[in-house]
Homo-oligomer: 106 residues x 2
Amino acid sequence: MEKQTVLSALAALAQETRLDVFRVLVQAGPQGLAAGAIGAALDIPSATLSFHLKELKSSGLVRCERRGRWRIYSPDFSAVGQLMDFLTANCCQGVDSCDLGSKGDC
Amino acid sequence: MEKQTVLSALAALAQETRLDVFRVLVQAGPQGLAAGAIGAALDIPSATLSFHLKELKSSGLVRCERRGRWRIYSPDFSAVGQLMDFLTANCCQGVDSCDLGSKGDC
DNA sequence: TCGATATCTTTATAATATTGGAAATATGGA
DNA sequence: TCCATATTTCCAATATTATAAAGATATCGA
């Protein structure tokens, strides 16, 4: 994962409304949710929601598929994993005895 | 992990200079680095670095220990793990057959 | 096929927040 | 005291946010 991609994903999630939106999508699972359903769940004006969905989409954390008059958004779970991998890459100068807390190894 | 803590950690990492600083610390490992060493590694003015270290510290991603005239910064690896756990919590409405990409389960 | 309605996005703008870095300030050690 | 190390204060430049208003696009019924 590129550094700019990582920065973009982190920036996308580092905002309360977007973090809420992403978590609603995570809970909904791969089947996704229409924009309106997200807005209803979180009580967000449609223009505001659309702005944030665009950010999540362009960061690669969320996909969008058009279905009839709905746009269905769903999370890209693998992006979250890649994010973590980037953050802990090359840790501890390669020494394998270092303590990474809950991660266990490096 | 509280939502505000998560937001704070994400915001701390969603900035190129701070992401660079954090990664340098991750690579250095638990023994940590003095502010000056970080600044030298990344060629950052001291005032700028100090500002960003303060952000990383207050987000809980980085610890600081005073040793003589130096301040030694080190990463909190477990915080990264907790971040991930938060992002994928309660995914897919508890259905265990959902595909979480590289994470494997939910 | 035409307009009414539903769903969602784009544009524009004002309010707010973040960033980098010079200068001044603290703190520890010789 | 004087130097080395690091932080704090300040400010202008830049970026982000929320939302109203207007603009797309899709469906449906007459």
